[in-house]
Symmetry: C2
Subunit: 406 residues, 2 copies
């Protein structure tokens, strides 16, 4: 007798479930929002009686993509700076013209709660259209008590409205805001004594983040903020070793951070610290050096060879990685980091989920959340091969098919 | 009295018409497939009585994109080679494993006419979805009389079926096929004595193309083929200076070619030849060095400064640029070639059209073909800023709106 279930997907080229059994499945059954069975199409069709059936028409089925590093709380892209740079205008002059990250801060501070919600929803929709079914979202263009709280509330409200699973990260430590330029320590005080307590009291963030870099936060300032965040019960996700190695990786490992992201300037000792930890994920963001015209990439193959857990994310933001698409990030992971299609996909499914503590997501083994994509690809080799093109043909979240506009 | 017309588009952020008058228009009227008026929305709405009206909702209106260098006659992407390269397998070993361009030749030779038509249509649809309204399409994965003719016929049939304006190029000189490896001169004989006459007799190509490169065709072989092509009344579009400077640019200029494409290895003397010619277009293909992980790009800024006419294209093909998207190519033109948004867009509209001899296309001045896009962009600065994302919201060809699935 066939057992009833919520959804049956069949006729896939293959289902990437990340089980270790090396079997190729072509069909899947979901019940109560969870994967309950995998098998070949004939077997699953015979054993299950679904409310809804989806024919994958020979497409590839993969777990819903998870973007573990995004900055969606912004108002507008900084596109004009791009043309300035093409004409040889340097970073300093761009800042003098009112460009750069503090330009995004001005826009976010000037936006109403409704406007912020509108833009965060729009960005979530763009990401979902390209296959993202769950994500991490950072604040960090507010840099004041009021505007950081507003940013995190916009993330929460947008997640609710869009039915998107989101882990929010308080990135008060993104940059020293203009009004604290001469007294950066006072801003760290503000972060620790006012912003962190308010964020935690309102329960609107799961993690805290700080950008350790020349022109942003020193290692000492970052450690103070990170320690406060831990005392307040937040997880840590850290921006480090993007342009300069300032010891942020070692600090992140020492403090048990969930992840340390960027790593284009990672040294061998930083790599060793990550390998010894085995807990702190390396956040690989291969679209960023592309967008910033940097030569140097994170030493991804060395990290993988050393067994460091990793994820691959878009770093979606208005100034240094203006793409909502994880399939596009996979392309850059293959081109720039020499990851295989399988490694790239793992990094934006199971790797991303693990880094966020989501054991039921990022894979399709029985018991997993039934979040999945049907891709217009003949095989896994083609994942991240095309660029500028969206391979998502259909999407399922919690066992429910979603209409796809792309 | 309002005059009747076919279509009225209004409420644009701006219309990029490439007129020299520096006016910003927000509305346009089309009649009998042609642009008849530009103005502000109030003025155009008052003066014209259209059969159909399109509200651009504040999006940017640009001429339909024109892809002046594509290879759409292939069966399948060469994605597995990508993973092999990531694992350090070199070019030679890939060829030994049966990969590379001759692998695409095997697939095309084995395909039936119906299969070829299916794939070319699929590729045209993908390009159109990303804003391409007219294009140049090359054969070149047949490399036999039968299979080159079949490729060109598939281009013609797909153009008819899809209602796509296509200029076909006979690229018999793409590579020496396996069976002529030891007697390349015999293949040049075949090209000149059998293939060119047959192509011209059937009237299925407007131009001929040859790849001048180590491992492909020597300058002497290429000149022989190009001279035969000219004698048969075909235009020339030439692949040259991609990896090595072998004199192909100078030859292309001397023979009055429409374009010479790639140019990553262009020398100052090649640049001078192009600048002196003023007729032969530089074909810029910025996605290719990205896809091949090459450091060197074409010296685009020098070419523009020297007044060389140019276009920007995708080089859509299965092995070295797997993207159907001109907006994506614009992103790479901005990132890698330091073109401004305006320069990139000109190169895939008016520049591309001029290189193909299409004076009515590529711009929206009165009298132009009413081929246009409504883009989901607030201004021209944002064209090519995002990547991995399709900005096309709606499309008009010959004054008729097309349903857009993206």
């Amino acid at each position: 007798m066939a057992e009833s279930c919520q959804l049956l997907v069949h006729n896939a080229a293959a289902i990437v479930d990340w089980s270790a059994d090396n079997q190729t499945y072509t069909a899947l059954a979901a019940k109560d929002g969870k994967v309950v069975a995998l098998g070949d199409s004939r077997e699953i069709l015979a054993n299950w009686k679904p409310k809804q059936t989806m024919d994958a028409h020979g497409g590839l089925v993969v777990p819903g993509l998870i973007d573990a590093h995004t900055h969606p709380v912004f108002v507008v892209g900084r596109a004009e700076e791009f043309d300035w740079r093409a004409q040889g205008v340097d970073y300093l002059e761009i800042a003098q013209r009112g460009g750069g990250i503090l330009s995004s801060v001005r826009h976010v501070r000037a936006a109403s709660a409704e406007e912020l919600l509108f833009h965060v929803r729009r960005h979530f929709q763009g990401m979902r259209q390209h296959g993202t079914t769950a994500l991490e979202a950072k604040s960090g263009y507010g840099l004041s008590v009021e505007s950081e709280l507003a940013s995190l509330k916009a993330i929460q409200a947008a997640a609710d409205e869009e039915g998107m699973q989101v882990s929010a990260t308080f990135l008060g430590g993104h940059m020293i805001p203009q009004e604290y330029r001469e007294q950066p320590e006072d801003y760290v005080d503000l972060l620790c004594k006012e912003m962190l307590p308010a964020v935690v009291e309102q329960g609107i963030a799961q993690a805290a983040d700080v950008f350790i870099e020349e022109g942003a936060f020193s290692l000492v300032q970052a450690r103070r903020f990170a320690t406060c965040a831990l005392e307040h019960g937040l997880q840590l996700r850290i921006h480090a070793d993007q342009f300069h190695e300032l010891g942020g990786v070692q600090m992140a490992v020492e403090l048990g951070a969930q992840s340390v992201d960027h790593l284009e300037a990672l040294s061998d000792s930083g790599l060793e610290a990550l390998a010894l930890s085995g807990q702190t994920f390396a956040g690989l963001l291969p679209t960023v050096p592309h967008f910033l015209r940097q030569k140097q990439d994170a030493p991804a193959r060395k990290l993988l060879q050393a067994g460091v857990p990793y994820f691959v994310a878009t770093d979606f933001n208005p100034g240094s990685s203006y793409t909502p698409s994880l399939p596009e990030a996979a392309h850059f992971a293959r081109i720039r980091l020499n990851l295989t299609a399988e490694e790239a996909l793992w990094g934006m499914t199971e790797g991303a989920a693990k880094s966020l503590g989501w054991s039921q997501k990022g894979h399709l083994r029985p018991g997993a959340d039934a979040d999945l994509l049907i891709l217009d690809l003949p095989d896994l080799f083609h994942f991240g091969y095309a660029f500028g093109e969206n391979p998502v043909r259909a999407m399922v979240i919690g066992g429910e098919p979603l209409a796809c506009s792309s």
